[in-house]
């Protein structure tokens, strides 16, 4: 089955295969069952290993690296608790279709199934959350499994793969170092041809009077931004993006209507109600966007996706094009005609004017929206921004306009608190010359706060923008609006001194509380290329608007200006 050469250990081969796959950086944490591999990694001159403080950090770093660079992210853990600590991050990567290779150590093959020390059936545990996983029982199988795993992670709709290596497999000798026959079917890794009729597909768009493009995370994975821009401009069609699609179409483009969905702009959500044609480009009609079958009720619905299982999964569509988004748009483009859409564009402009993103900026307290707008101005919109999960995430999505793909890193599908800091670290390793900002909240930050040590150890320049309201802000918002202000367990009656904490890790930090300090704060935080933390105290009652209440549709959108009405 293979070309044979001099026998080497499984661990050595694992390192060589990673090198051959072009992997330059891995994030991990050693332990007994993965030691033979780590011993070989010690000798590698090509692969840089980042030692994390918790395995969840390792996966999120790999995710941040993968999302910001478009390359494969690799994370490593030992058996048992090391492997199970990966689970949250792995599930996160699964839901957001991020290409990740997770490598775990396993107890020796003769001990598997005996409840051995640090044994967990990570193969079984991760079946539901991986795109592919395997337990490798012989060093001879290593090469094939590596090739299959990497092809599957990067191929089609990208995703997460996990390979589990018993300790003795890492020490076994093998001379099989190249797979000649893969056991998986080609459709799992070959780039699919576009299926459907691009001309007919484009005709429907041409006939539309009020078309709207709805762009999702698939646009980022497919590197299709240029094609989407060309399509929007040629068709003269406004573009809205999902949370995952931010940056796939320039947020400052005149045709941009911003983000749609639960906390999307009012004008995007209203455009969805008014459009007569909606073209989904690599999104999945997620439930935070499209609540009912009557999504875009007046529109013909069309969908382009690489994953055939997404067609008609939640929302029925009228026209389908199956294939890689970039290829598909290239095939549609020649048939797309401009058409006069002046009144539709004017309609969008008046929606934007009459239903802007809004907040009350009177008073002395610092409003996070205001602060983010200033960070946007100061960085000229060129930073890579990661977020945790909660109100700060939505404010960042709304007020930092993303013009480029791969600059917005957020946990969209799983909504994982603790994602932001390690994701920023991974992104900074992948983009050392760019400004990387982690926008976080006092709740989320404490979930992976130990990775401050990883920043310190690598002398990394990650900027941390911590909005502190001494609450789980989004939980509080829901409790205020839907649970009659019963703030059950959402208030932190203890928070650490975040400034001192950052300083304990050698990271310069500053806290601001009043509007008069904003300029000083922004300057301090972004002044040089080093790490810094700015703690911004914000009012606990500040809310994210617009908002579509959970379970409701675009029709039920609440804007900032409706708040008074709603509270009665």
């Amino acid at each position: 089955m293979s070309s044979t050469t001099e026998a080497i250990t499984g661990g050595r081969l694992m390192v060589e295969l990673l090198e051959e796959a072009g992997v330059e950086i891995v994030f991990g944490y050693p332990g007994g069952a993965i030691l033979p591999f780590y011993d070989e990694l010690y000798h590698s001159k090509k692969i840089k290993h980042i030692l994390v403080r918790h395995e969840q950090g390792a996966v999120h770093m790999a995710e941040g690296y993968a999302r910001s660079t478009g390359k494969l992210g690799v994370c490593i853990a030992t058996s048992g608790p090391g492997a199970t600590n990966l689970i949250t991050g792995l599930t996160d990567a699964k839901l957001d279709s991020i290409p990740i290779l997770a490598i775990t150590g396993q107890v020796a093959t003769d001990a598997i199934g005996t409840d051995a020390f640090q044994e967990a059936d990570i193969f079984g545990i991760t079946i539901p959350i991986t795109k592919y996983n395997a337990l490798i029982k012989k060093a001879d199988d290593l090469a094939r499994h590596f090739e299959e795993a990497i092809k599957i992670a990067m191929g089609g709709r990208p995703g997460l793969v996990l390979l589990d290596f018993p300790k003795d497999v890492q020490t076994q000798k093998t001379s099989v170092r190249k797979a000649t026959a893969l056991k998986i079917a080609p459709h799992h890794y070959e780039r699919p041809k576009v299926k459907g009729d691009p001309q007919e597909f484009a005709e429907v768009l041409n006939q539309a009077k009020r078309p709207l493009l709805y762009v999702g995370g698939g646009a980022i994975n497919s590197f299709a931004s240029a094609e989407i821009k060309a399509l929007a401009e040629k068709a003269n069609a406004p573009v809205t993006t999902t949370l995952m699609g931010l940056g796939a179409f320039p947020g400052t483009h005149p045709l941009s209507v911003g983000m749609l969905g639960m906390h999307g702009t009012a004008y995007a959500n209203k455009a969805v109600l008014e459009c007569d044609y909606i073209l989904n480009l690599g999104a999945r009609f997620d439930d935070r966007v499209a609540k009912y079958q009557d999504f875009a009720p007046n529109a013909i619905r069309a969908h382009v996706d690489i994953d055939a299982a997404e067609f008609n999964k939640r929302i029925n569509v009228d026209h389908i094009l199956h294939g890689d988004l970039k290829d598909a748009i290239r095939e549609i483009l020649p048939f797309v005609k401009g058409g006069d859409r002046t009144s539709w564009i004017e309609n969008i402009q008046s929606l934007k004017k009459n239903h802007p993103l809004d907040f009350d900026n009177s008073g002395d307290s610092i409003k996070p929206q205001d602060f983010l707008q200033r960070v946007y101005a100061k960085t000229k919109g060129e930073a890579i921004v990661s977020t945790d999960v909660g109100q700060h995430q939505m404010w960042a999505a709304q007020y930092y306009l993303f013009d480029r793909p791969n600059t917005w890193l957020t946990s969209g599908g799983l909504g994982t608190m603790g994602y932001g800091l390690p994701a920023a670290i991974g992104a900074k390793f992948g983009n050392p010359d760019k400004t990387v900002i982690c926008v976080t909240g006092d709740g989320s930050f404490q979930m992976c706060i130990q990775e401050l040590a990883t920043i310190a150890q690598s002398k990394l320049g990650v900027k941390i923008l911590l909005f502190n309201n001494n609450f789980l802000g989004m939980v509080r918002q829901w409790q205020e609006l839907f649970y009659e202000e019963r703030f059950s367990e959402s208030q932190w009656t203890y928070n650490p001194n975040f400034v001192k904490l950052a300083e304990a890790y050698g990271i310069p930090a500053m806290k601001i509380e009043h509007k008069s300090e904003i300029e000083k704060g922004v300057d301090f935080f972004l002044k040089d290329s080093g790490s810094a933390l700015i703690e911004v105290m914000i009012p606990a009652e500040e809310k994210v608007f617009p908002m579509i209440p959970a379970g409701k549709s675009q029709q039920d959108l609440i804007e900032f200006k409706d708040l008074g009405k709603f509270k009665k």
Binding site: K131, L135, K183, I184, A185, H187, A308, A309
Partner: protein
Amino acid sequence: MKHTLSILVNNHPGVMSHVSGLFTRRGYNIDSIAVGVTDNTEVSSMTIVLNGDDFVVGQVKNQLLKLPDVLRVQDMAYASSVQRELVLISFSITENNRSEALTICNGFDVKILEMTEDSLLIEFSGNSRQVTNIISVLKPFGIREISRTGQIAIAYRNQNSV
């Protein structure tokens, strides 16, 4: 509506978990599942019977095809495929009804594997309806034990032959 899916998968440990797990976590119910290796020892054939409308079955097919170990999924239309199930039934008989039982067995083309003074152990194969039918006919005798294989299926080569 019942659907029969014939699925070719890689024959190695964990594939069964991958397939059945997919059904579990998406809330689809499996009526029967039968697995056996094919002439190629690296490939197994699975026959899964499930209840669901065309939407559910379409989803199941699409999701199955996403599993790397799944090589092919075929939705077997009842009319253009052979569908069989094997059942072993042990049931009670008495001196009085023994000949009646044997007549039934004869009529159903049943293979008798063991006969004792007070019991019969039989083997029967047929489509699911026939299997269910023979079980209900034998029920009055007093069924002691039943073991069904679950359904297997294969498409006719000539789709016009039926």
